[in-house]
């Protein structure tokens, strides 16, 4: 485990916060705050955890994007996962956050309490191990996440196939970050001055994948790590680029990110998955924004192997008043949703943004983004 204390040095952090505030204050009086979107839910969490958002206000306003994997999962996909877990002889394996996300009728956690087989795993390989140990059980791994987690699921699939584990399946809900960023910008709903690029995703896809931001949208992007100094350094560089008026990509996470990314992971993704349309909460169906299993893996593809209802027929989160979709697009901040902190709390979430530690509603609720500390 890396020693990260150097990336949390308080004196260095204060110097960077001062620098950011000073630069933002160089703009003419009465200017709107600089609006920066952090794509990644890990960044949202770190920003709130370290109180960075409040510290940079009012000159810089940090907006959360759609980068929380659980949050962007659609109601239909959650209903499908629950339907799978209810099938006799089928166990659904998933990362922990997912079990609490409400579908149209219930969550995986509620389904588990009345007998559905839901297993929480820390890695897709744990699900492969479960399939190996229990040959009579069909194990379906829920493939959630962006370019970062998809390679681990791909590796698990290759392992399962090499071992001839016919009882291991993947229900892929994997999504790609650049197409989602485009979708938000193309909608024109929210004015942005710059993008804080997702560090772990970019470690896989390489920072060149973001070159369309300056080239096509005239926006700067600073790729950031997840420690407080990483984030403050990236924001400082991003604000500098914005004030210069020369849109560019800044790699502010050099210890993890290169121009071309991780070619081994990219090759692995290419062997197992192919780009496909994906259903995003908040963005709808975005072409070429998801990963589907390639035809060679059809026998392991839960979307083909099992008959699944389109929906459980209950009310979607949106129909219950949830505004996660607008939160995920950066159009509103969580406290602007009428359910926030009242009908919707971490103990009784209405929408997924209140469930995940990376969800912006949960982060606001947990860390007091609305109490003006």
């Amino acid at each position: 485990v890396t020693d990260l204390t150097a990336f949390r040095d308080p004196a260095a952090a204060r110097a960077l916060m001062d620098s950011i505030r000073r630069r933002a204050a160089e703009r003419p009086d009465g200017s709107d705050p600089l609006r920066l979107m952090e794509f990644c839910g890990g960044h949202t969490h770190a920003i709130m955890h370290y109180g960075i958002r409040e510290a940079l206000a009012p000159g810089v306003r940090l907006l959360s994007g759609p980068g929380c994997p659980v949050c962007v999962t659609s109601d239909a996909d959650i209903d499908a996962a629950i339907a799978l877990a209810r099938l006799p002889g089928v166990a659904v394996a998933t990362f922990g956050d997912m079990v609490r996300v409400p579908g149209t009728r219930s969550s995986l956690q509620e389904a588990r309490a009345v007998g559905a087989d839901v297993r929480i795993v820390y890695s897709a390989l744990d699900a492969v191990a479960l399939a190996r140990q229990t040959p009579g059980l069909k194990v379906v791994m829920l493939g959630i996440g962006f370019e970062t987690t998809a390679p681990t699921v791909a590796a698990a699939l290759e392992t399962a196939r090499a071992e001839g584990l016919a009882n291991f399946y993947v229900y892929s809900m994997h999504k790609l970050t650049p197409p989602a960023t485009r979708a938000i910008l193309d909608s024109g709903e929210v004015r942005l001055d710059g993008i804080i690029g997702p560090g772990h995703v970019t470690a896989i896809i390489g920072w060149r994948a973001w070159e369309f931001l300056p080239a096509e949208y005239g926006l700067s992007c600073a790729v950031s790590g997840f420690e407080p100094l990483d984030m403050l350094h990236a924001i400082d560089q991003l604000v500098t680029a914005i004030m210069d008026g020369t849109p560019r990509i800044v790699n502010a996470y050099r210890r993890g990110v290169t121009a071309e990314g991780n070619r081994v992971a990219q090759a692995l993704l290419g062997r197992v998955f192919q780009p496909a349309a994906a259903d995003w909460r908040g963005l709808g169906v975005v072409p070429e924004s998801g990963l589907a299993l390639r035809p060679e893996y059809a026998t392991h593809d839960a979307r083909r192997a099992f008959e699944l209802p389109v929906t459980a027929g209950g009310r979607t989160a949106e129909e219950r008043g949830c505004r996660c979709g607008e939160v995920l697009r950066g159009v509103i901040e969580p406290p602007e949703c009428p359910l926030f902190g009242r009908a919707c709390t971490p103990a009784r979430p209405v929408g997924p943004c209140m469930v995940s530690g990376e969800g912006s509603c949960a982060a606001y609720h947990h860390y007091g983004g609305s109490v003006g500390l």
């Binding site: 485990v1 990260l4 949390r8 308080p10 952090a13 204060r14 916060m17 709130m48 955890h49 370290y50 109180g51 960075i52 409040e54 510290a55 609490r100 956690q109 509620e110 309490a113 009345v114 820390y122 407080p228 709390t345 971490p346 103990a347 530690g357 609720h365 947990h366 860390y367 007091g368 109490v371 500390l373």
Partner: protein, 336 residues
């Protein structure tokens, strides 16, 4: 709501657990003075007696630094000690799953006996039930206990006052992380050991040093330091400000927490306490804690004020502030 069912999160010690107690148990089984404490004071003749009970369902039943038997003694002893009481007598109930090796049960009972001796308590009554294979997970233990409160001692969850100082007796998160890493088969270079220990000796030394200055004691078990502080802030009607850099956390726990995505301030402890004391008593109490083997890493971590009753605020190492909220969901099931 009638088709709602019990979720694992109802047992997490967080918000859903509180709702369950408030909505289901208290209306029927509550006692009139209402305050929710680790142990309840009852009058028996002239003696001030406290009573408490707790059930232990931890998996695995043997873990680094302890086992379910040691935990079952420590947990109830500590609940009594958190009222400033001297724990005296315990009962023990065993629910055993068919198939548990007798030798394993023997080792756990031996461990209970050793821990009881160390804590100076006697187990005076017991019960055994055996259930079919699959109806329980190996072994569940319930203990209940009574203790007596020394003259002049008044320690309650609602006792914190503005100006008071908040101390912890040592590093946070050891127990929960030891269980979690054991369960997940993770190995770390540093030893990750449960802190499971009876705290009554430490409490006695603190009481002797404090001159009546200890207002609140609480052992931060499920839900960790953050959840316990929220309960205390609510019960006392005060705001508590904690300095994150001052809270001791062992390096191995910090590393394991980051790997598992957990916050050590929300992870259970079984051999640590929070003390909220009058400012003039703080140094003496800290000194007494550090002089005791279970309080060597004790530290002053925060202060009490009257600004926003019920709120807990964390000052981060960067000098920024944020809420330190209660645990909402199921972070780590079956760790005690």
């Amino acid at each position: 709501m009638s088709d709602d069912v019990i979720l694992l999160a109802h047992g997490s010690g967080g918000l859903l657990s509180h709702e369950l107690v408030e909505n289901v148990f208290l209306p029927h089984l509550g006692h009139p003075d209402g305050a929710l404490e680790d142990a309840t004071e009852i009058e028996l003749g002239a003696r001030r007696v406290v009573m408490s009970t707790d059930s232990y369902v931890i998996r695995p039943i043997v873990f680094p630094g302890g086992d379910i038997g040691k935990l079952a003694i420590c947990g109830t002893v500590n609940d009594l000690a958190m009222r400033g009481a001297r724990p005296l007598y315990l009962t023990a109930g065993f629910i055993i799953e068919e198939g548990l090796p007798l030798a394993e049960l023997g080792r756990i009972v031996t461990s209970m006996a050793e821990t009881a001796t160390r804590a100076g308590v006697r187990v005076v009554a017991g019960d055994t039930k055996v259930v079919e294979h699959g109806s329980a997970d190996r072994l569940f233990i319930n203990t209940a206990g009574v203790g007596v409160v020394p003259e002049g001692t008044c320690i309650t969850a609602g006792g914190a006052r503005p100006g008071d100082v908040v101390l912890v007796s040592g590093a946070m998160g050891d127990h929960g992380l030891a269980i979690m890493t054991q369960r997940e088969g993770l190995r770390f270079d540093g030893p990750l050991q449960s802190d499971c220990a009876p705290l009554n000796g430490l409490v006695a030394d603190m009481l002797a040093a404090a001159g009546g200055g200890i207002h609140v004691l609480r052992d931060p078990t499920r839900g960790g330091l953050a959840t316990a502080l929220n309960e205390l802030a609510a019960a006392s009607g005060v705001e508590i400000i904690i300095d994150e850099s001052a809270v001791p956390v062992h390096d191995a726990v910090r590393a394991a927490s980051e790997l598992l995505g957990l916050d050590p301030l929300y992870v259970a402890n079984e051999g640590k306490l929070i003390a909220i004391v009058a400012p003039e008593a703080a140094e003496a109490v800290l000194k007494a804690m550090r002089a005791h083997p279970l309080g060597r890493e004790a530290a002053i971590v925060g202060a009490v004020n009257d600004k926003h009753p019920g709120r807990v605020v964390l000052r981060t190492p960067l000098g920024t502030h944020r809420l330190l909220d209660m645990l909402a969901g199921e972070q780590l099931p079956r760790i005690c």
